[in-house]
Symmetry: C2
Subunit: 98 residues, 2 copies
């Protein structure tokens, strides 16, 4: 299992309508094959400057790569992510066996 | 629901025995009242410099604050976290209603 997460902040010029359109586009990512446990979250810690987070899980690295290269994901990045997101950090997890 | 997460990197001088001791101490945090869905993870994205992550959930902000102030957590921070962790970022989430 791989949990892909990204924490981010929208550009100041994205108004509430733009934010709604952005998150509507985000939700379409759930239709990409392999995406499991999709979550859309508000970031609330005052210890960082991000406002939102996405989290999803993939059964394995191959499905994660297929998601990354999927036309719907590529389109989302070009048409929504790059245009609306000011700053972000990707964090990916695997279970730790210790 | 609040999901408290922290992504981190251990100090270079922490060897494998030290790492094991650190994660043994981490596991004791699960005994603190209010902690749910505790996860200990490996960070695998090459797009950041962190190596590990912890995630846990609290029913509400009051339980999260009680965890933060709990003697076992304060002791863990002083005796293990500060001594072993080189860099970290706290990220906390609430569900986004949109």
């Amino acid at each position: 299992m791989i949990r892909h997460t990204v924490v981010f902040k929208l550009k100041d010029q994205v108004d509430s309508l733009g934010e709604q359109a952005f998150f509507n586009a985000v939700k379409e990512l759930t239709a990409i094959p392999g995406v499991q446990k999709f979550e859309c979250m508000k970031q609330i810690s005052p210890k960082n400057n991000f406002d939102f987070g996405l989290s999803m899980e993939f059964e394995n690295a191959e499905l994660y790569e297929q998601y990354n290269n999927h036309p719907s994901h590529v389109h989302f990045v070009q048409e929504h992510w790059i245009k609306s997101v000011q700053d972000f950090l990707e964090i990916d997890y695997e279970p730790l066996v210790n």
